[in-house]
């Protein structure tokens, strides 16, 4: 019985993709748009923050680091709840009108993703040889030039931080469900569509969405892995 459902799901997925079903394509587009934008924002905040934490010492750094690590394991649904309250009409950001829009979902996913990006970047930067940083300064690098060179040295770790950040949001359902509301053609993404179709008993379509989601995650991770391997091999 279950293998039938699975086979049905695979066939349905292929048929939906081959027929370029507009409902499916819309959902894929919203998913990529929301998670992609959230990832870019998370990287823009997380990479500099991680580099700063990795390279500097200041009073209270241990507390900030502990908070960051806590953020890395924060349940997405709680972040969804927090963003929902912020964006609700009586909340401090209610006037933005972002609740049940992709903007609200992007905000929630950025908050989920950036501690992962910042945390892994910080660890990677801290792993760079301290002698190299001293050497760069000795060669006349300014602080900004030395930081940039250090980030380049930590690029594998930074890449991992981006993979982790993406993985956390593309597969996340709680926050986008709460903040986005799963509105067809507007805020429905792959994960919320899976929940909906499963509840309706459309297991085939739900599995089809699951396969599409896995395929997207696989392609992104495979590409990143190829980049990583290329880096590790180097020339010769």
């Amino acid at each position: 019985m279950s293998s039938n459902i699975l086979a049905e799901g695979v066939l349905e997925a292929l048929s939906l993709l081959i027929s370029m079903d507009s409902y499916v394509l819309d959902i894929i587009a919203v998913s990529l748009q929301v998670s992609g934008t959230a990832l870019v924002l998370a990287a823009l905040i997380g990479i500099p923050l991680g580099a700063f934490l990795g390279l500097t010492n200041f009073p209270g750094k241990a507390l900030v680091t502990a908070l960051l690590y806590t953020g890395m394991g924060f349940p997405p649904v709680v972040i969804g709840l927090f963003v929902f309250i912020l964006l609700s009409s009586s909340g401090p950001m209610g006037s933005f009108g972002w609740l049940f829009t992709p903007y609200g979902m992007i905000m929630a996913q950025s908050i989920i993703s950036f501690p992962l990006v910042a945390g892994f970047t910080m660890t990677a930067v801290m792993g760079v040889d301290k002698n190299l940083i001293q050497q760069l300064k000795s060669l006349g690098a300014t602080k900004a030039q030395a930081t940039l060179a250090t980030l380049k040295e930590a690029r594998l770790g930074v890449l991992v931080s981006i993979i982790a950040g993406f993985g956390a949001i593309i597969s996340e359902v709680g926050a986008v469900m709460l903040v986005g509301g799963n509105i067809e053609g507007a805020t429905r993404v792959l994960t919320t569509a899976i929940v909906l179709e499963t509840r309706k008993g459309n297991f085939g379509i739900a599995i089809a969405f699951g396969i599409i989601l896995l395929t997207i995650a696989f392609i992104v991770n495979f590409t990143m892995l190829r980049l990583q391997n290329k880096e590790l091999r180097g020339n010769e």
């Binding site: 002698n131 050497q135 760069l136 000795s138 060669l139 006349g140 690098a141 060179a149 180097g234």
Partner: protein, 247 residues
Amino acid sequence: MNEEFTYKMENISKTYARKTVLQVENLNIKKGEIFCLVGPSGAGKSTLLRLMNFIETTDTGHIRFLGKTYGPSQVPPLNLKREVTTVFQRSALMTTSVWNNVIYPLKIRGKKIDENEMKRIEKILDDLGLLKLKSRRADKLSGGEAQRVALARAIVFRPTVLLLDEPTANLDPANIHIIETIISKYVQEVDSSIVMITHNIFQARRMADRIALLHKGKVIEINSKNEFFENPHEDVTKDFLSGRIIF
């Protein structure tokens, strides 16, 4: 700028965790000389080099560098700071090609690398036996090759002062010979000052114009090479040269 000395240091000291590791009353480095710093481990030699490179600042006294004087916590402006660099014992290269490592100091100074400049850099690489390796990733090199890249990277922007912190420690004689040859050539070509820490007194004898012995953070004796080896003035120097002071 037209002074005889690149450095004039007076009463400088450095203290870490309440322990004074360096206390130098007077030390001058002349233009165009190779000045060797010798002494047992923990004598304060590397600390002195970090102060001379302005990676750290003195706690007391002042350093006159290229005509300007800097007191505690003071560092030269970037353009003057960029007239000095250090080659450390560990080469600390970036995980990119040899070429990218060598041109890094030029890139951060905003220098354009035209055809003539490229030829000049390739000549440096050739002199150091690195031309064939220029596309190779620096983290795949042997210790001797890596140290030669570090030297190429340091001299490529023709600094007025080159500081060398045991640049040939743990290298084989062939690599030591290449590095020593290039250092001797550089000081003549660029009219720079070279300050080199070495644990190898034979190397000091081969390379130095003048030598200083540091012991327990203090300068014990500064002398011309011949005087230092043939007629040391201080008992500590005599003990050091005879191997009676190791630590």
